[in-house]
Amino acid sequence: MSTVGAFCVTLNENQCINSRMPGKCATCVEMCPYGVYGLNEDNEVRIQNYNACVGCRICAEFCPENAIRINPAESELVSRYPWTLGTIEEIHHKALTGGYGMRGFGTMGGPTPHFDTIVVVPSQLASPAPRDKYREECNMEVVIGEETCEKPIRLRYPFIFPAMSYGALSREAKLALAIAVAKTGIMTNTGEGGVVEEEPYYANGYERPDRKRKIWEPGGYLVVQWSTGRWGVSADYVNAGDAVEVKIGQGAKPGMGGHLLGDKVTEEIAAIRGIPVGSDALSPCRYYDVVGPEDIKKQVELLRDITNYEKPILMKLGPSRPYEDVKAAALAGVDAISIDGLVGGTGCSPEVVTQGVGIPTIAVIGPAARALKDLGLHRKVKLFALGGMRNGLDAYKAMAMGADGVGFGTAAEIAMGCRGCMACHQGNCPYGITSQNPKMRERLDPEEIGQRLANFINASAEEVKILTMLSGHSDIKELSEEDLRALDVNTAAITGLKLVGYERPLPWWENGHGK
């Protein structure tokens, strides 16, 4: 789905500082990642490329005089689909350059089913009575590796920040995530780009490695990722966090590995990844040291050994064949599995892959949970659902469908300030989140943004609590598919949830197919 031509840009010249005083203020020219605005030879701001606007409204946010309006022009989707201006521009771009479209962010628009066609069923007479959110307790703790590790992870809330690498993200953004997990008792993930020096002790709540008292309570956890590129991986790295995650794939580009181009491999990134400055850091799409499920099992075992059988071993999967994949992961002996949906985000991916490859998040969770149930491991091996989680409502629905918790990746970036301009891969993020440019990075204060993230997590946890208690539960582990209904036939068909009004799953689910 291309956004070309999907928005109307209006500049109110009565309000615009530059219109009144040419040469002054050209913030919009500086901020727009797509060159919608330009300066003419008299230094007057002009809208030079209306059609490039993606509707992120960064310009409007930064405009000191509130002179910019961005209005959607989506009626075109009705009148010209499938030959919208966006499609036409995409074909022209390919015809002119021979290159395909790359962008950051995640799946947007289009017909992807998501959580919105599912509703929560409150409790009345026919089910256990609602619990009082203000006066009664609700257990939201998720424990990973309780029976297998000497140092299990105890998440205060059923949330994680999934893997986002240093390199794709700035150092400041990584530290903000670490501070946020320390303040909320959840866990973050290094991603595959190596570990930032402060990340481990920040995530645990300490300002310095030698400190005994936490500066951020209650302290959280850091997961280090073991991936197909193995950037910066050493014995110290594997032991730097509180758990190790074996990455198989991700939602935004399953089966494609990772892409950090040489231009972005600065001295600092090169040092942390252990490679020469300026060399392409392309993670392979598969492990060269894994051929078949037996090897993955051996890797899980050797990681347990390197971490002295103390730390949980996790695995991350992209959305492919959730039932079979999760079964294989569980049989490899991991303590928790994160499975990403089609809606998962990314710093850089071919557009066709982000938009059109993978299984939607709501169709991944059910089969993944069933795989664990069939092995007798549901709620023992923890399941985290990722991909397009926006709030406590999405989290509740995912958990009622069988997940133990959820990951907020894109939502975390938005909580840091992101407006979804989709230019993460260009390295000029105006908020310093996905940029290595010092000018952009200095805009991101890790403590301030860490607090924003913590606020977001706390608010989302409250939402989960409200929903859990109004549906008659005092523990998130009690949530089940009975707490949800599908609003339409399609959602009922792909999830197996009861259809509203019909009050049963669709017939083929009742006949046992798919369950």
């Binding site: 991986v233 040489g262 392309l282 060269y288 040291d289 890797q299 390197i306």
Partner: protein, 221 residues
């Protein structure tokens, strides 16, 4: 006073039991391990110590080695010295598929022959194969040196990004982005030193050198 190193008989032991016993021995002394061919991932993540594996080893021996000196008197299983960052791994016999992948540093010597995908994604280690090497050796190498005394298979050095490959024998075919250049006197001396150090019999002057054709083999457009 020199004395015989402690011996661990790994027969019937699982990885946890063998590894725990080995680490306890290494805290005091060097160690010899026998009957360890069924163990995968032994000697993982060690930072120091001298270990001799008597006979064959299982898969992933010396994975993430960060400073230990490991010697295998027999053949090594798959992925020996995987992801090593420092130290030495010497295999007296042959190595199976995927030896010395993802290594950042240290030295891996396979005195016999090695399988396919040896030294894949080498990021700075010195990897020496005394015999022949299979297909796809040194694929995606980002830094370091790979020496093949014998012959190499298909697609040698595929998408070489940085680093050098020295080959004493022939190769079936070269991968993308490989350039065959004249070995300089410094290169020859370096290869000669390695051959001598590890007791490999070959004429360093006969080695040909392969380097990356372009600095940026991907996304040239």
């Amino acid at each position: 006073m020199a004395h015989a190193p402690s011996v661990l008989d790994a027969k019937g032991k699982d990885l946890k039991a063998a590894s725990t016993a080995l680490k306890a021995m290494l805290a005091e002394d060097s160690a010899v391990v026998k009957n360890a061919a069924h163990l995968h991932g032994l000697c993982g993540g060690l930072k120091s110590g001298e270990i001799t594996i008597q006979g064959d080893s299982g898969d992933y021996l010396g994975v993430v080695n960060s400073g230990a000196s490991i010697k295998i008197t027999g053949n090594a299983g798959k992925y020996v010295a995987d992801n090593m960052t420092a130290g030495t791994v010497i295999v007296e016999g042959n190595a199976d598929f995927g030896a010395a992948q993802y290594c950042y540093g240290g030295t891996v010597v396979i005195k016999g022959s090695a399988g396919d995908f040896t030294a894949t994604m080498n990021k700075g280690a010195t990897i020496i194969i005394g015999g022949d090497v299979g297909d796809e050796a040194a694929t995606y190498m980002v830094a370091g040196d790979v020496v093949v005394v014998g012959n190499a298979g298909e697609n040698l050095g595929n998408y070489l990004i940085r680093g050098n490959i020295y080959v004493g024998g022939e190769w079936a075919s070269l991968g993308h982005n490989c350039a065959v250049v004249d070995a300089e006197s410094g290169d020859i001396r370096m290869v000669e030193n390695w051959l001598q150090e590890f007791g490999l019999n070959a004429d360093a002057k006969a080695f040909r050198k392969i380097t990356p054709l372009s600095d940026k083999p991907f996304y040239s457009h």
